[in-house]
């Protein structure tokens, strides 16, 4: 079967999906892990409001993220001159916008929970404020990995943002989710199902890998 045309085209779609979502999540983690850690450890006026905004953004619909990025990079937008619309770079930006709040929020919650649980013990053991923060963050590491994986799951699964700013151009910006959308509309359910199965297998592989990492961490140090 595979009317998408060929298995090599399928391979290209899978690779682009992984490259776009992987890059978006790495860039998101680079910003979100320090930010979430700082939020989890700090206490300042207005923190509750910041967190509420963050939690709201965690549920940002992909189409809205796509729309915002679309406006920003379209010809008339502030970044129109960069000619990013309908390129993989645009898709990375859109997924970055979508995923950064998710990882930030999950990291903040995880660090805050560890902070409550471990801070006092660390302080009583004679830790300096800096040592206390390090101990708390170290305890939060497995949860930080989980947060990044949750972000990756969200990025690979979403369709709205990449559809809007990528345009689902064959051979250029077509990824698994947008291909599923197209094949289903064309009535090629078999092809859509194959792509869906590939998505699930990738998700399972990522989760298995992280699970092994975490179990390893819990054993020793």
């Amino acid at each position: 079967m595979f009317g998408v045309s060929s298995w090599s085209e399928l391979g290209g779609i899978i690779l682009l999906s992984l490259a776009v979502s992987g890059t978006a999540v790495l860039l998101a983690a680079a910003a979100a892990v320090p930010l979430g850690t700082a939020l989890g450890l700090s206490r300042f006026r207005g923190r509750a409001v910041v967190l509420r905004v963050l939690y709201t953004l965690m549920g940002l619909p992909p189409t809205v993220a796509g729309l915002l990025v679309y406006i920003a990079i379209s010809k008339q937008g502030p970044f129109g001159s960069l000619n990013l619309l309908f390129t993989p770079a645009a898709m990375i930006i859109a997924q970055w916008v979508l995923v950064t709040p998710i990882i930030t929020g999950l990291v903040a919650v995880a660090v805050e929970e560890r902070d409550r649980r471990y801070r006092e013990t660390a302080v009583a053991l004679g830790a300096t404020p800096r040592q206390t923060r390090l101990l708390v963050v170290r305890e939060a590491r497995p949860a930080v990995f989980s947060a990044i994986v949750a972000g990756l799951g969200r990025a690979t699964a979403e369709v709205g943002a990449v559809m809007l700013v990528g345009g689902n151009i064959r051979g250029e910006t077509r990824v698994m989710t947008t291909a599923i959308l197209l094949e289903t509309r064309r009535g090629n359910f078999g092809d859509a199902l194959v792509l869906g199965a590939v998505l699930l297998v990738i998700g399972f592989a990522i989760n298995s890998y992280v699970h092994r990492l975490q179990v390893g961490k819990e054993g020793g140090r």
Binding site: R117, Y118, E120, T121, A122, V123, A124, L125, G126, A127, T128, P129, Q131, L135, R138, E139, K217, E218, G219, G220, R221
Partner: protein, 263 residues
């Protein structure tokens, strides 16, 4: 009877609390006169649940500030704020590094038993190869030698409690604050911890001042030189353990040592 409700002694104490009070809003949970901790002595503090025992330990460990009164330790003073603003961060750190606090439900960090026991030394920059022997000895004293490399996630309650005590011991602090370190433990575990406490206090080199909060009357009798009874935040009886049990001055003490409920 003033002497009977004062937990101070003639010899110069390591840590003293004076007029210590702690309130949450309108509710005063602790209001004790004077408490002094001396080197090489185990002071048992008994009292019903909610009588302020844990609050007292938290005040002495600077985990909470007093509402009134003060604690003195290592040339620093821990008092209500305001009026007090200090101690300086440096004094506070040296205070906390001069004592060890074992809470009722000890929190262990991710890692092995040995990782946890060595942590206090690491934080003080005292870990290194020179400390290996001391760590091993403390692990053995508390019956943890065979568990040194075991992950703390797989420990029983008794083992976890012993790790927390070992973590405090290895630092060799001047003051040990222990909040029911043997609650919910089986007799074998209780025996291990009690023997370690007696050996530390009576030893020739370290001799910490130990403040032991316990529900266990027999434990106080077995190992404490002095015993105090806290009821509703007040020290109703204090003195040599023999006297407190043998000739209790306060009727509430009498009821408590006879096993009746005290509120």
């Amino acid at each position: 009877m003033k002497a009977r409700t004062s937990l101070s002694e003639a010899a110069s104490p390591v840590m003293t609390a004076t007029g210590l009070r702690r309130s949450y809003g309108e509710r005063t949970v602790l209001d004790v006169g004077e408490i002094a901790l001396h080197r090489g002595e185990i002071l048992a503090l008994m009292g019903p649940s909610g009588s302020g025992k844990t609050t007292l330990l938290r005040l002495l460990a600077t985990l909470e500030r007093p509402s009134a009164g003060e604690v003195r330790f290592k040339d620093a003073t821990w008092a209500a704020s305001p009026p007090a603003v200090g101690p300086s961060p440096g004094d506070l750190l040296s205070w906390r590094r001069g004592l060890a606090f074992v809470s009722q439900n000890p929190v262990l960090f991710t890692g092995s038993v040995r990782d946890n026991v060595v942590l206090g030394l690491e934080l003080r920059g005292r870990a290194g190869p020179g400390a290996e022997a001391a760590v091993t000895r403390v692990l053995d004293d508390l019956g943890l030698g065979a568990l040194a490399l075991t992950s703390c996630r797989s420990l029983s309650a008794g083992e976890a409690q012993r790790v927390a005590v070992a973590r405090a011991f290895v630092i060799r602090p001047e003051v040990l604050l222990l909040d029911e370190p043997t609650a919910n433990l089986d007799p074998a575990n209780v025996g291990i911890i009690e023997r370690a406490l007696v050996a530390a206090a009576g030893g020739s080199d370290w001799r910490p001042a130990i403040l032991l909060v316990t529900h266990n009357l027999f434990q106080a009798r077995r190992i404490a030189g002095r015993t105090g009874l806290l009821v509703a935040g007040r020290l109703v009886e204090a003195g040599p353990t023999r006297d407190v049990f043998g000739r209790p001055a306060d009727p509430r003490t009498k009821a408590f040592v006879e096993g009746e409920m005290v509120f």
